[in-house]
């Protein structure tokens, strides 16, 4: 085991897969000479050269489409979109081509393409640069979606993503790039998709946290234990498609209560979908409706105090958990900014 930062773990995964498989190549803006906007690809151009680590012009839709074409004809491209915000420009190639080519052409080709993109608010980047869009990708059949929250998972899931035959949307978190965590030394240490991680065991309430929210949920669980004598079970799904629903259901059947925490908008969000799935499969085991904590249902404002209340923090998670146990007066957390009313 080695302790690495999240961005270093990603760098390690890319380096290992580039070494392992000649067909892997990287495409993205400023990934080569600049070393990547978030330094994830630092040093890779030096080791692997321009043929395999390619700086692209600012042409998101076309870069993704080029990745699709290359993936259809024998390569294993890893496209970096500088942030998830710019993926909106590439939605045609992502949905109509990356996700659909295999199916619509009757299974004649695969599209083993990985599209990496960081997301997250909290740095006052304002409305067009603060999106959390995992729900939009989860929505699309044909795509796999990974949302690693730890360095170990970032490295392991990225390796799996690159080796997988399906197109993968690999969502990193801008605020996690600097966090440290244990990463196995084995260069074949992949983390399977569809296996959730139970971060913390507990029997009173299940909290599912997406991406960074898994870590925020862990801290909320500590607060719940210390201040309210509540033992929360925190689950990090790691991948949204495929989803390890079985682990989540097993937990909910034991705790009878569930909170889903995401940074994206509430309507049509990950929590909305998961709440529906839990209702369908474990209705009789629920002692309270599934609670959702999400980003506020507004464009992300620039001004610091507004931005702070427009995305979720520990107190909202604590309050939502208490509400499922009937121990909070105000259970509104869905898309509501704290203190806005």
């Amino acid at each position: 085991m080695t302790e690495l930062r999240y961005r270093e773990a990603l760098n390690l995964a890319l380096r290992e897969e580039l070494r392992r498989d000649e067909r892997v190549l990287l495409l993205g803006e400023d990934i080569g000479v600049f070393g990547g906007a978030f330094r994830v690809t630092e040093g890779l151009l030096e080791e692997f050269g321009e043929r395999r680590v390619r700086d692209t012009p600012i042409s998101e839709n076309t870069i993704v489409g080029v990745g699709v074409g290359a993936a259809m004809t024998g390569l294993r491209p890893v496209v970096e979109l500088m942030t998830i915000n710019f993926s909106l420009l590439a939605f045609d190639q992502i949905v109509n081509h990356a996700a659909h080519v295999r199916y619509m052409f009757g299974g004649q080709v695969t599209v083993p393409l990985v599209i990496r993109m960081p997301q997250g608010a909290g740095h006052q980047l304002g409305p067009t640069h603060s999106h959390c869009l995992e729900a939009m990708f989860l929505h699309v059949p044909g795509l796999l979606v990974a949302v690693p929250a730890t360095p170990g998972d970032a490295r392991g899931l990225l390796k799996t993503a690159i080796r997988d035959e399906n197109p993968v949307i690999f969502i990193e978190h801008e605020s996690l790039y600097g966090i440290r965590g244990e990463v196995p030394d084995d260069e074949d240490a992949c983390v399977d998709f569809g296996h959730a991680r139970i971060c913390r065991e507990g029997s009173d309430v299940t909290i599912v946290g997406v991406s960074r929210m898994a870590l925020t949920a862990e801290r909320a669980a500590t607060t719940l234990a210390d201040e309210h004598d509540i033992q929360a079970e925190v689950i990090d799904p790691r991948t949204l498609r495929p989803l390890d629903l079985d682990t989540i259901l097993a937990s909910v059947r034991a705790t009878n209560r569930c909170v889903v925490v995401e940074e994206g908008w509430p309507h049509g969000g990950v929590g909305a979908n998961l709440a529906a799935l839990i209702s369908e499969h474990a209705f009789d085991d629920l002692d309270a409706p599934v609670a959702r904590v999400s980003g506020a249902d507004v464009p992300m404002p620039y001004s610091k105090p507004l931005e702070d209340i427009a995305h979720p923090h520990e107190p909202q998670i604590v309050r939502a958990a208490l509400a499922t146990l009937g121990r909070a007066e105000d259970s509104r957390t869905v898309g509501e900014a704290q203190g806005a009313h």
């Binding site: 012009p57 042409s59 489409g65 074409g69 993936a71 619509m104 009757g106 796999l144 998709f193 296996h195």
Partner: protein
């Protein structure tokens, strides 16, 4: 005038154009009889562009086209049975009924689709060129799209990237004078499409898209240069579609006189007359070609009619590649 190929090959070009024409006419009939649903974009009038360009390709070269691509598939050798069955939505279709008219595909023959989004295929074409380049192969990709697509963002982005990275792609603009229902004068500030890629680093050539020999000659030249220089080129094929944009198009945006004028340049009789003048084809030979085309299309329709519809249980097949990593829920 460029040299005709040897007689057997010249007759094959005529036969393929004729096959495409008869196929498309029949597909139009089948659509009217509700055997085919959705949108149907016919290539009637564009046969010289389709066959001329296809016959300039080597087997290992790639072809990628648009939603108007039945002719591309047929020209590359996809059996008419598989194309018609795909139109009928049957399992015997080249895509098992999943794609339909706009999404044909034949990997074996390196016909890489079939795309419903205007301009959507350009980046994919560049990606295929990138693969060839990366893997050290000398194959070239022919990426065909319409005049309308030259206004889509992907045109500028893709040509820039292809020129920058020296991708082995021939970008063929099939200029049939219309972007759907809008004439080229009303949709493109620059109508000399041969030049539209210059500012992006891609020089252009033009061919007479109603003349299969000229198209073949010019496209072959472009492919050769791209293969040698490893730089992209653009070819503008000036052609015309005799039917509407799709079967649903009432064609209110052009006059019958205009269509009639272009019909006088119908590529098929034009080429047939040339072969007759050159002594390569006689009346019997011409009759034979017509007869065989009609027969092949008839067999295709029969095959399509008797090919089964996909079973409901097959709905979820091929959405994902499920390998050893099958964990969790892929669908709900």
């Amino acid at each position: 005038m460029p040299d005709l190929p040897e007689p057997a090959l010249a007759r094959e070009w005529l036969a393929t154009m004729t096959l495409i024409r008869r196929f498309e006419e029949r597909a139009g009939e089948m659509y009217a009889r509700a055997r085919i649903g959705g949108f149907l974009h016919l290539s009637i009038g564009e046969e010289a562009t389709i066959v001329g360009s296809a016959r300039a390709l080597r087997e290992e070269d790639y072809l990628i086209s648009t939603y108007r691509s039945h002719g591309n598939a047929l020209a590359r050798g996809t059996p008419p049975e598989q194309v018609m069955a795909e139109l009928f939505g049957r399992t015997g279709g080249c895509c098992g009924g999943h794609g339909g008219s706009m999404h044909m595909f034949d990997l074996q023959r390196r016909f890489m689709g079939g795309y419903g989004i205007v301009g959507g295929n350009l980046p994919i074409g560049a990606g295929i060129g990138l693969s060839s380049d990366y893997l050290g192969h000398d194959e070239v990709t022919l990426c065909a799209f319409g005049d309308g697509a030259t206004n889509q963002g992907t045109f500028g982005e893709t040509l820039n990237l292809a020129a920058l990275w020296r991708l082995p792609v021939v970008f063929m603009v099939v200029n049939n004078q219309f972007g759907m229902g809008t004439s080229i004068e009303r949709h493109s500030a620059v109508t000399d499409l041969r030049r539209k890629g210059e500012s992006l680093g891609v020089p252009g050539m033009r061919c007479d898209g109603m003349d299969v020999l000229d198209t073949r000659t010019v496209v072959a030249e472009a492919l050769h240069r791209v293969r040698e220089d490893r730089r992209p080129l653009l070819v503008e094929a000036v052609t015309y579609r005799f039917r509407g944009h799709s079967m649903a198009d009432p064609e209110e945006y052009r006059t019958r006189e205009e269509v009639a004028q272009w019909r006088e340049r119908d590529p098929i009789p034009q080429f047939a007359h040339l072969l007759e003048r050159e002594g390569i084809l006689d009346a019997a030979g011409r009759e034979q070609i017509e007869h065989e085309a009609a027969e092949r299309v008839e067999r295709a329709v029969q095959f399509a009619e008797s090919s089964p519809f996909p079973a409901p249980e097959s709905l979820y097949e091929d959405v994902y590649v499920l390998g050893e990593q099958v964990h969790g829920r892929y669908h709900g």
